[in-house]
Amino acid sequence: MDWFWLVPALPLAGFLVLFVTEGKLPDKVVAFVGAGSVGLAALVALGVGWQFVASGQSSFSLPLWTWIAVGDFTPSITLYLDSLSLVMTGVITGVGFLIHLYATGYMWQDHEEPKGYSRFFAYMNLFVFAMLMLVLGDNLLTLFLGWEGVGLCSYLLIGFYHRDPANGYAARKAFVVTRVGDTLMALGLFLLFWEFKTLEMQAILAEAGSLTPGMATAVGLLLLGGAVGKSAQVPLQTWLPDAMAGPTPVSALIHAATMVTAGVYLIARMQDVYLLSADAQHVVAVVGLVTLLISSFTALTQTDIKRILAYSTMSQIGYMFMALGVGAWSAAIFHLMTHAFFKALLFLASGSVILALHHEQDIFKMGGLWKKLPIPFWSMAIGSAALVALPFTSGFASKDAILLTAYDNGGWLYWGGGALAAGMTALYTTRMMIVTFFGRSKTEPHDDSKANMWLPLVVLGILSIGGGWFGIAVLDDLLGPIKSFSHFTPLALVTIAVPLLGVLVGWLVFSGRVNVSAVVESGLGNGLRRYWHGGWGFDWVYDRVFVKPFVAMARINKNDVVDLVFRITAALARGLHYIGALTQTGRLRWYAANLGLGLVLVLLIVLEVL
């Protein structure tokens, strides 16, 4: 296990190689370095995980060096492995490798960017490194290092095609909005440090009992702020749909499988703090619930395939948050893992479709593709089934666990909201599948995908189905019991039935068998659709409350109002100079008169008149 440090080091090395060579390497070598470093990391992680599980230890620390040592504040760079971080590491390196592999094909001869191939993999490798630091750090500062690092890579990759200002805008929006969350999180770190004089997570968790409820709530909410930003939950969710501007593998890796779930990881990791504060936990659950509802409704109205998937990601993470909020820690992580599988699959498959259609992303310009693009279609179908949580898929296993625990721990509201959203999920997924793959063909695809592109799809497809079994088999041991569908109560049956119902309704509506245009085209229907389409108006409000005033004030104050004070002082001095200069007339008699006036002045002072 001493080789453990290689797991983050390998992607970092890959990044450094690609960075130093400045894109001068041949593309094949780049692909080898870029994907190979992550693949190797995955292998090492597998080996280390095997050893770890075999050793029966509950945790393992690998101290590397002391980062900062100032008085009590002595965070070190220490890799910490326990079941939670092991699962995360597996997802990051495993799914990450598959996506890298896929990207070697997807980005191949992407001529839009000179030397873009190398740059892309450099960023991707850096991302994997940062994400690993996030989950492997034993203290919150290292976690924060990874946290910010993945944010940076997300920024870089969203804006990968930097010539289009819209991409740049999306990238900056992602970075800045998540930074808002990061700020709250940083405050949480400060608070924790001054409470515990350490940021080491295990030490904090061990001592957490000493927190007052108020303090626990404060810490919980501040950390939640960070999580909400990173995981695109209400109210900081607005960046994620725009983040789809990045290349599709990026969306799969960062904005579906790994980075956006960092918030879930954080809260799961700090669960002992949340256990101390029912209020904070409650807020977590509500955030999840609201997000999953809002985003699943919004997904229904989107036409861009990647935006649909983005909203679906938000809603799935909403499930995870809800799970965390109701204390279903293992279920949340389980769903995190299965979601990584099937959402990566969905994105990659949609990427294949997009590539085949020459970067067309509007589902209404697709159609009838199921025969022409069989591998993407079947991948998409499997992924959708898992997303919808049809029985015997991985998504079913995890979502079912969440909903049932939500009912047990949280009550009707959480279960009902989750179930409603599950229905909506089924509805919009069906819509996406039908519109994209069936019906009349609108654009002619050309499929030239190679093994490096379809292989990941196949593997992820298998995982999307089988991952559930794996989860039940392994994670139960590792993370603690995951509630599962072992008991067939009526509620469980309803939970199973809702997605099926959603699929059925979707099929009826979107294949045209039931005409709902009257409802959709009505005033209310139209309005709702527009409202949902715009993401429930969050962007609109933020734009008017924060962005526009800030920009307007900046424009007005470009010349720095503070400087005015000094400019006025200077102008005053100049004015006095001119006035003074006027007295210097050059007339001798005026000068003499002044002498007389001065004489009078002095005599007045002397005689104490003045």
Binding site: T585, R587, L588, A592, G596
Partner: protein, 103 residues
């Protein structure tokens, strides 16, 4: 016959003379008159010295007066040289003409 003149009166006279001289400097434009006015101011001071010397019964006041006279003469000598040159280079004795410098 000694006539006692109160020192205060002499001082008043000196003061008046001084102010007269000053007023002359202020109102006259011809340099010659300016110089005369200056002489009046100086002599006012000299008169004050004599009065003061008389009060204390010392010769110092009168000696000062003689110094003043001597210096005034020297000053006027230089001044007249300057006046001569002014009348040549400015073609006038109006002091207001010599106001090239200002600001």
């Amino acid at each position: 016959m000694a006539i006692e003149v109160p020192v205060f009166h002499v001082l008043m006279l000196a003061g008046v003379l001084f102010l007269l001289g000053l007023a002359g400097v202020l109102v006259r434009r011809n340099i010659m008159f300016l110089l005369m006015s200056l002489e009046i101011m100086m002599n006012a001071a000299g008169l004050a010295f004599i009065a003061a010397g008389a009060v204390w019964g010392q010769p110092d006041g009168q000696i000062m007066f003689m110094f003043i006279l001597a210096l005034a003469a020297a000053e006027v000598a230089v001044a007249l040289g300057i006046v001569l040159q002014i009348s040549r280079r400015f073609d006038t004795l109006d002091i207001d003409a010599a106001s090239d410098f200002n600001g």
